[in-house]
Amino acid sequence: MQVTEQRFDNALLLKVSGRLDRDTADEFKATLLPHVEKCRLGGDVLLLDFSDLEYVSSLGFQVLLLAQQKAKAQSGSFGVAALQPAVKSVLDVANFARVIRCFESVENALGVMSHSAHTAYLQGR
């Protein structure tokens, strides 16, 4: 599991690659939660790019739920984008899209979550 960061104006994009399972969920949690602290009203928009995420177990889902719970408590803007079919089918069992904002693509997500970040993303491509 790898996480790489990119900033587009007020949005932090974390690209998560590999597998979120029993071996990697703790590391993912330790990486993600400090960023969630800054995901608040007037702070960072936080978006996870799952286009290279191959696998997620319920432990990975727990970390995402925790992040959403904290972001919501801080009135922050948090979402995930570009879920692959294998990952989406697991998350669908838990009605994931009912509790966490899911977008088809990073571009689509930033277009909804932050106009300035969307502009920066398009300029940076």
Partner: protein, 147 residues
């Protein structure tokens, strides 16, 4: 013809990747589609997480060995799996209650999705306790034509 294979793992010490590699090798030999392999990995991932989180830690005095056994075979067009541990008897499928997220976020229960996931994916799911082991039997299709 793929022969049945059983492997014992130490759920406390071995990374889950060791279990995953065993499953992936078996599925390749059985010519199972990628999706079947992924679902088998997911089910065993969730079962072993339950063993590690709830099963062995509940033993008084704490067990030093945390063995799990996985037996895989092929029957007809199915992969037949048996997952076992030696933790205290417990049927995780007795009363499945998925977490409810209809309330406010601060009231959400973080966790509890492993068992509903297994129940949704696994075929012919059956629990028994015998010979001092929790035994969970299930199947997954090799042939997904028409699914």
């Amino acid at each position: 013809m793929v022969t049945a294979q059983t492997r014992q793992f130490n759920a406390r010490l071995e990374p889950f990747s060791a279990v995953r590699e065993f499953i992936e090798r078996f599925c390749a030999g059985a010519e199972a589609p990628k999706r079947t392999g992924e679902e088998l990995v997911l089910i065993v991932d969730e079962l072993s997480e339950n063993t590690v989180r709830h099963g062995y830690p509940s033993i008084e005095g704490k067990a030093t060995e945390w063995p799990i056994w996985l037996t895989l075979s092929v029957s007809g067009r199915d992969i037949v799996a048996l997952y076992e541990d030696a933790a205290p008897a417990h049927n995780p499928f007795d009363n499945i209650v998925p977490p409810d997220y209809s309330g406010p976020a601060e009231s959400w229960r973080i966790g509890g999705w492993g068992v509903p996931l297994i129940a949704r994916i696994a075929g012919s799911l059956r629990y028994e306790h015998s010979g001092g082991r929790n035994r969970i039997h299930f199947t997954l299709p090799i042939d997904r034509t028409g699914m």
